[in-house]
Amino acid sequence: MDFLNAIVALSNFVLVPAIAYGSQLALGALGVTLIYGILRFSNFAHGDTMAFGAMATVGMTWWLQSMGVNLGPLPTALLALPFGIMAAGFLVLMTDRMVYRFYRQQKSKPVILVIVSMGVMFITNGIVRFIIGPQERQFADGERFLISARDFKQMTGLDEGLAIKTTQAITVITAIIIVALLFWFLNKTRTGKSMRAYSDNEDLALLSGINPERVVMVTWLIVAALATIAGTLYGLDKTFKPFTYFQLLLPIFASAIVGGLGSPVGAIAGGFVVAFSEVTITYAWKKVLGYAMPDSLAPDGLVQLLSTDYKFAVSFVILVIVLLFKPTGLFNGKAY
C-alpha cells in the first residue's frame, strides 16, 4: 500500500507536472530550433512571440466568453487559438519584412541577428504590455480537473490522491498532435523537405529550385504557430503574465541547446530533460520517501535539493553539463 502511495505521490507531484511542463518547453524549443536551423540565429524574441500569440488568444477568449460561446468542459481558449496563431503569424511576418530581411540581404553574421532579435524582443515585450498590461490574467475556463485528488482517493482507496488538471491533459495531447503534424510536414511534404534542405546546406538549396524567401516565410509561420500554442498552453496551465514568457526563454534555450540546436527531435528531448530536472530537483521528496522507505529511515527534513526560487538555475546547470560533455547537444545539432 505504501509503495502504491509513493508511486501516486510521485506521479502527482513530479511526473504529471514535469510531463506537462516538458511538453510546453518542447513546443517552445522547437520554435527556437527551427529558426536556428533555417535562419541561422538564436531568436531571443521567441519568448515574447509566445507572449504575443498567447495575448491575442486571451483577448479572443475573453470576447468569445462575453458572447457566451464556450467549449463545455474544454477551455474556450482552444477555440481562440487559431486567431492567436494568425495574429502571431502577422507579427513575425511583419518583423521579418521590416527588420530581419534587411540583415539577411546584407548577409549579416549570426551574432548581429541575435542582437537584432533582442531589439525585437524588447519591442514585442513593450507591445504586449501596452496592449494587455503587465499583470496576471485569468482566461482558463471549463472543467478544472480531469481527475481530482478526491475522486482518485475515493476510486482507489489510497491515502494519496492523483490530480490531473484538464489543462495538463490538453497540453500533452496538443503537444503530441502538433509534433506529429510537424514531423509529417518536415519529412513528407515538398515544402517541409525544402526547409530541411535549406537547413542542411543553404548554399546548395539556393542553387536548386528552392525559393529562399518562401522557405523563410513558411518557417516563420510555423514558428508563430508553435509559439502561440506553447504560450497559450503554458498560460492555461499556470496563468498568463507577460513577464513569465521572458523568464521562460532560459529553459527554452536550454532545451534547444541540450537537444542540439537545429535538431527538432533534440528540441523535444531537451524539453523533457530540462523539465524533469527542474521538477525533480526543486521537489521536496519527504512525502514520497516517507512512503517508500521503512519508518525508521523516513527523512526528517524536506529532502529538497534546491528551493523553487532557484528553478531557473537548474536549466543553466544542465546546459553547462551537457555542453561540457557533448558540445553539439544530445542529438548532434549544428555548431556554427
Partner: protein, 260 residues
C-alpha cells in the same frame, strides 16, 4: 551565351578577380584552367550570384544578370557545382536529386491538402527521373543511402546528377574531377559529352587534369592572378609563353602538382 566584361572581385585589398573578360559560346564545352588561387572559383561564384562583383558586368544571351541571386539564375537555366561537393546530408541520394526541380506541386499549401493525386503523380515521375539519372551515373545502388555518407567522388557524381534533373542551359562545373578516381572521371567525362550532345547543355569546366580537359574542352581559357591570360585550343594554350610562365614552378606537365 555568357559574356563577362571587365569583372573585378576584391576581398579587402586583394584582387581575386582582376578585370577578367571572356565569352562562352553556346553549345561549347569551355575549359577553365589556371594555377591555384588564380580566381577561377571566385569567378564562378560571381557569375552564379553567390558573390556580388566589385565591378564589371555579366550578361546571359544579352540580358544583364550581374548580381542576380542564385535561385533566379537557376530559373534562367544557369547551374553550377561546387569545388567541394555539397549535398543535403540528411537526405538520401535519390531525395537529393528530387529536390532540384522548382515549382513542384507539393509546394503550395492548397495542393498539400487538396492536390494529393497531382503531387503523387509528380513524385512518381520525379522519382523515375532521379533513378534514371542515378543509373546513368552508375550509382543506382546508392539511391537509398544518405548523401552525407557516400564517398567524395560519388558526391561529385551526385552534383553532376543534379544538373540533369532539370533542363539547364549552361552548367559551371568546379573541379568535377578532384578527388575522383580514373574510372569515375571517365564516367563524368562521358556524361558531360552526352549532355552536351543530346541535351545541348553548354559547359564551363574547371579542371586540373589536362587529359580530361584535352578530351572534352574546346576552347580552353587560362586564368592567372585574376586575369584571363589566353584562350584557344589546349595545344595553343600549352604553347603560350605567358601561360607557361604563370605555371612555372608548378609545372604544367606535372598534373599532380597543379591539381594539389
Amino acid at each position: 551565351m555568357i559574356k563577362v566584361e571587365n569583372l573585378h572581385k576584391h576581398f579587402g585589398g586583394f584582387h581575386a578577380v582582376d578585370g577578367a573578360s571572356l565569352e562562352i559560346a553556346p553549345g561549347s564545352i569551355t575549359g577553365l584552367i589556371g594555377p591555384n588561387g588564380a580566381g577561377k572559383t571566385t569567378l564562378f561564384n560571381v557569375i552564379a550570384g553567390v558573390l556580388s562583383p566589385t565591378s564589371g558586368r555579366v550578361t546571359m544571351d544579352g540580358e544583364d544578370i550581374t548580381g542576380l541571386p542564385p535561385h533566379e539564375l537557376f530559373h534562367k537555366g544557369l547551374l553550377r557545382t561546387f569545388q567541394i561537393a555539397h549535398e543535403f546530408s540528411s537526405m538520401t541520394c535519390r531525395e537529393n536529386l528530387m529536390m532540384v526541380p522548382a515549382n513542384q506541386a507539393g509546394e503550395t499549401l492548397w495542393n498539400t491538402w487538396f492536390g494529393r493525386k497531382r503531387i503523387a503523380d509528380e513524385e512518381r515521375a520525379l522519382r523515375a527521373k532521379a533513378d534514371e539519372v542515378l543509373e546513368f551515373l552508375t550509382i543506382s545502388h546508392l539511391a537509398d543511402h544518405k548523401a552525407g555518407q557516400v564517398s567524395g567522388g560519388q558526391k561529385k557524381l551526385l552534383e553532376l546528377g543534379r544538373t540533369m534533373m532539370v533542363d539547364a542551359k549552361i552548367v559551371f562545373l568546379d573541379e568535377v574531377g578532384a578527388g575522383v578516381n580514373r574510372t569515375l572521371l571517365n564516367t563524368i567525362g562521358d556524361a558531360i559529352l552526352r549532355l552536351n550532345k543530346e541535351r545541348g547543355y553548354t559547359f564551363v569546366v574547371i579542371e586540373h587534369d589536362m587529359d580530361f580537359i584535352g578530351r572534352l574542352c574546346d576552347p580552353v581559357i587560362c586564368m592567372a592572378e585574376g586575369k584571363v591570360l589566353a584562350q584557344g585550343t589546349l595545344d595553343q594554350i600549352k604553347a603560350n609563353e605567358q601561360v607557361i610562365e604563370a605555371y612555372l614552378g608548378t609545372g604544367l606537365k606535372n598534373k599532380e602538382a597543379v591539381g594539389a
